[in-house]
């Protein structure tokens, strides 16, 4: 094993020479108390900005489910004295792109613009209005509510959505992570403008927001941009407390559907962003089902048996335990066989852990491939936003590589045994074979 270990050490040293010092993050606070994460990059005439708020779907309750999503969606549909049409035209006139990011924890607005003065100023003016002076017009709310509800009626017929929706409820029970991010028809119908305003006023707070800036501006310019984007945000700072995630009640649910394939998902509470088991679980997941074509699940389900096109396992780290999921789709007739093999692969992995060879391959990929995670402005601004939102250290990316390098087979095995209970998982099969 000495030779292969040496290779990991070598990879680490190559990495540290080439990539480590390449992400000099600058950090400061605006006068409104917003933390700013900035990387200057003059390679392309582009500016990327992300503004993230603690206003994800976990701020919803069963009664207000869908409120957080609708609030984010409406930000750009009327703000700062401009109509939705004026906002859209103003952005399009300079070729700027406004985007959103939404999950259980976060609601974020992103902007990509050319860095030339006219384009940049016009785009930033719009972004400033959208995040600081949204108007939530009544008629726009009516229309968007109807569109979301109509969309939900449609996705409620699709097997992948049915599987996901059902699974999240089984996995999280009454925890807000179990709520559907786009909401439920009944709760959406009751939402009023004041509900959206209230969420905005209580969650889009200056001192809790995080701004990430990447691209073709100076530190001085970035500081001025951040000031202008935060001076009129609702003042204050959040003290967020989310309930703890508790283990689910183990259950397998089979739901009929006319599709030709069954959609199968197994899940268990997984990773927190600040999780002490983070690195062993990330490395282990690569080996089990995260590592593309070389994972155990891919090998057993697809390569050896041709049972599915796609099979994967994944962790989605959140403030509290995000889901650990295993998913695949296969024609109905072989769904029970596929589920059984999947369960066997998981059980064997948890009982025995990875081999030394698998561990080394996983580290080689994660460490050797690290530069690919930072090879564009877009990827870098996304990392800044994540580091900022979860208050991770500025050395996070460097630490990540080092921490991966230190993971042992025993740590992976112990972490999986401690955290993932195969017998306690929730499982959903949509498109189960009908009883004859």
């Amino acid at each position: 094993m000495q030779v292969t270990r040496l290779l990991v050490v070598l990879l680490l040293s190559i990495y540290s020479q080439l990539a480590l010092a390449t992400l000099p993050i600058q950090l400061w606070q605006t006068s409104a108390g917003t933390w700013v994460y900035f990387v200057e990059s003059r390679g392309l005439p582009i500016l990327d900005i992300s503004v993230d708020f603690d206003a994800g779907s976990s701020t919803d309750t069963p009664e207000t489910s869908g409120r957080a999503n609708l609030t984010l969606q409406l930000l750009s549909l009327g703000a700062g004295g401009l109509s939705e049409d004026q906002i859209a035209k103003s952005l399009a006139d300079v070729g700027a792109e406004l985007g959103g990011r939404f999950d259980q924890d976060r609601a974020g607005v992103s902007l990509r613009t050319l860095s030339s003065t006219r384009e940049r100023n016009q785009a930033l003016d719009i972004l400033g209005r959208v995040i600081q002076r949204p108007e939530f017009p009544e008629d726009v709310l009516e229309r968007e509510r109807t569109r979301v509800i109509t969309g939900l009626k449609d996705v409620d017929t699709k097997p992948d959505h049915i599987a996901n929706h059902t699974l999240k409820k089984m996995l999280y029970g009454s925890h807000p992570y179990g709520l559907r991010s786009s909401g439920e028809i009944a709760s959406l119908e009751l939402l009023q403008r004041k509900d959206l305003l209230e969420l905005y006023q209580s969650r889009y707070l200056a001192a809790s927001a995080v701004i990430s800036i990447m691209g073709d501006v100076s530190r001085v310019e970035a500081a001025a941009i951040a000031e202008a984007l935060t001076q009129d945000l609702p003042p204050g700072k959040l003290n967020v407390t989310l309930p703890a995630v508790v283990a689910p009640v183990a259950e397998t649910r089979r739901i009929a559907h006319p599709a030709s394939q069954s959609h199968i998902i197994l899940a268990y509470p997984g990773l927190r962003r600040d999780d002490p088991d983070f690195f062993p679980l990330v490395v282990g997941n690569y080996i089990l089902g995260g590592g593309g074509f070389v994972s155990r699940l891919m090998q057993e389900i697809r390569q050896n048996r041709g049972l599915a096109y796609s099979v994967y396992s994944s962790f989605s780290p959140l403030r509290q335990e995000g889901p650990f999921e295993i998913g695949l789709q296969t024609k109905k007739e072989q769904s029970e066989e596929s589920l059984r093999i999947t369960q066997q692969v998981l059980a064997k992995f948890i009982a025995g852990g990875p081999t030394q060879k698998e561990l080394i391959s996983a580290k080689q990929n994660i460490i050797g491939g690290f530069p690919l995670r930072l090879d564009s402005n877009k990827k870098i601004v996304d990392h800044l936003a994540m580091i900022g939102f979860y208050n991770l250290p500025l050395t996070y990316l460097d630490d990540y590589v080092k921490a991966i390098g230190k993971v042992t087979t025993l740590q992976v095995k112990k972490a999986f045994q401690r955290r993932i209970k195969p017998e306690g998982m929730v499982t959903v099969v949509v498109g189960a074979v009908e009883k004859k």
Binding site: Q303, S314, Q329, N365
Partner: protein
């Protein structure tokens, strides 16, 4: 967390979705960033290298000028099946080893099959480019195709078809619409192939395909990243230089299979489990043949932009926001293809509205545009987006390589990228009106609608239209 799916298909449905999202399919390259270097090996392999030194990484893509357009009846889907089989090993690199070695080098890899091409790629640290070339050149000629591996992989492909088409109502509508819109041209056939053809495909079909098209003189190697062009050329020479060219039909001499002129509207209905109906309308349209002298494809791109290029563009503003006839709607057109083109209008009606209401509204928008033309303001807005998106694309090495490969494999040149941006900027309002008038007409229209069926009802052969086990 993203899942790596080998063998994604650039299907029509996806192309439309992409067109809707990015609003316009606009090529990159301006003077400041245009640096591709072109080389040709003695065996006919074309190499195009684009330097991008922002990160210590590289992407290597090999494009074969063979896609579903080159398939014959009875063997539809074979281009894509072979793409799957390309990962099954050679004498020197046994099955599964390719992926393992790329993964151990910290790399990512995948492949995709389109109507006009099949492409394979690796993304890795720049120091590992030789490994990517070594493995990719090896499987250009030394692939071992066994009955045993084939019998498993064809099952994977059938699962892929179920996942992406049979159980996806919109994809099904597009598949059946293409089959109706084209009578003679091979674009009538789905890239993934008809289910019955997959069921009857044998390893020798894949072998014949491989022997026919996989050769250096039918391929383009595109490398983008933190590299020195001359060093890449030396590597390509080392790894690909020894592969013998094969006699095959060059692009320009393949049978055109020109679609006969459509002489009247075609309509079809597709029933599938869903809640909302869906409408798509396709008009036959030209594609670029000469990037310098053609003008109509550029005007069609701008037409799509005026209708659906941004949130304030006509279709969204009028039909979604103001009149509330559609829950969503869009327009799409892709100017680059080996075969003919199609201009699309599509959408989902609002609740209480029908596909017929939406069709009437879309026709109304087109009539208005043909009658009154487009404003300079609208056109300027779309052109601003052309400029910006062309710069934004430079942020992705993958996309830069994609653009070069796509153009080269349909018979255009990466050099045309420059020309295309300029020509798009030069389109006039009158030209947009002219192409709308000329191509958006009933005689060349195919209309397809999704007729949603309740989940409870069992559907006879919803899906493949082929045999089922």
């Amino acid at each position: 967390m993203s899942h790596n799916h080998r063998a994604s298909i650039l299907s029509l449905g996806l192309k439309i979705a992409l067109a809707a999202m990015t609003s316009l399919v606009i090529p990159l390259s301006s003077g400041a960033y245009a640096n591709p270097h072109e080389f040709k090996l003695a065996n006919g392999l074309k190499l195009i290298v684009k330097e991008d030194h922002r990160s210590p990484v590289v992407i290597s893509q090999i494009w074969y000028k063979a896609g579903s357009i080159d398939e014959l009846n009875g063997a539809t889907g074979v281009a894509h099946v072979l793409e799957h089989m390309m990962f099954k090993g050679t004498e020197r690199v046994p099955g599964g080893e390719f992926s393992k070695r790329i993964a151990a080098a910290g790399g990512r890899e995948n492949a995709f099959t389109g109507r006009d091409y099949t492409a394979y790629f690796q993304q890795l640290h720049k120091s590992r480019l030789p490994l990517a070339m070594e493995l990719e050149s090896d499987r250009m000629r030394n692939l071992i195709l066994t009955k045993e591996e084939f019998s498993k992989e064809i099952q994977v492909v059938m699962e892929e078809r179920r996942l992406r088409t049979d159980d996806k109502p919109h994809a099904l509508v597009h598949e059946k619409m293409m089959a109706a819109a084209y009578q003679a041209h091979p674009y009538q056939r789905p890239i993934i192939g008809w289910m019955n053809d997959l069921e009857n495909m044998r390893v020798r079909d894949a072998k014949e395909w491989y022997d026919r098209w996989y050769a250096p003189n039918n391929a383009i190697l595109v490398v983008v990243g933190d590299v020195k062009p001359k060093e890449v050329f030396a590597l390509a020479q080392k790894y690909y230089g020894g592969i013998m060219p094969r006699p095959l039909v060059p692009l320009a001499l393949r049978k055109p299979q020109t679609e006969p002129v459509q002489v009247g509207i075609k309509r079809l209905t597709v029933k599938a489990p869903a809640k909302l109906p869906y409408l798509t309308m396709g008009y036959h349209a030209p594609t670029l043949r000469n990037a310098s002298s053609d003008w109509e494809p550029y005007a069609l791109e701008m037409l799509a932009g005026v209708l659906d290029g941004n949130e304030s563009a006509r279709l969204n503003k009028e039909l979604v926001r103001e009149r509330r006839i559609a829950n969503s709607t869009g327009a799409g057109y892709d100017s680059t293809a080996r075969g003919p083109g199609m201009f699309y209008l599509y959408g989902t009606p609002s609740e209480g509205k029908t596909t017929s209401d939406l069709e009437t509204a879309l026709r109304g928008e087109m009539e208005k545009l043909i009658l009154d033309g487009v404003t300079e303001e609208e056109l300027a807005r779309v052109k601003a987006q052309v400029v910006a998106s062309h710069v934004f694309r430079l942020d992705s090495m993958f996309y830069q390589a994609m653009q070069i490969g796509q153009l080269e494999s349909v018979g255009l040149s990466y050099r045309d990228l420059e020309v295309m941006v300029k020509k798009l900027q030069a389109v006039t309002a009158e030209q947009v009106r002219e192409v709308a008038k000329k191509y958006v007409k009933d005689d060349s229209l195919t209309v397809a609608v999704l007729d949603p069926q309740p989940l409870e009802q069992k559907l006879p052969s919803a899906g493949s239209g082929g045999l089922r086990h």
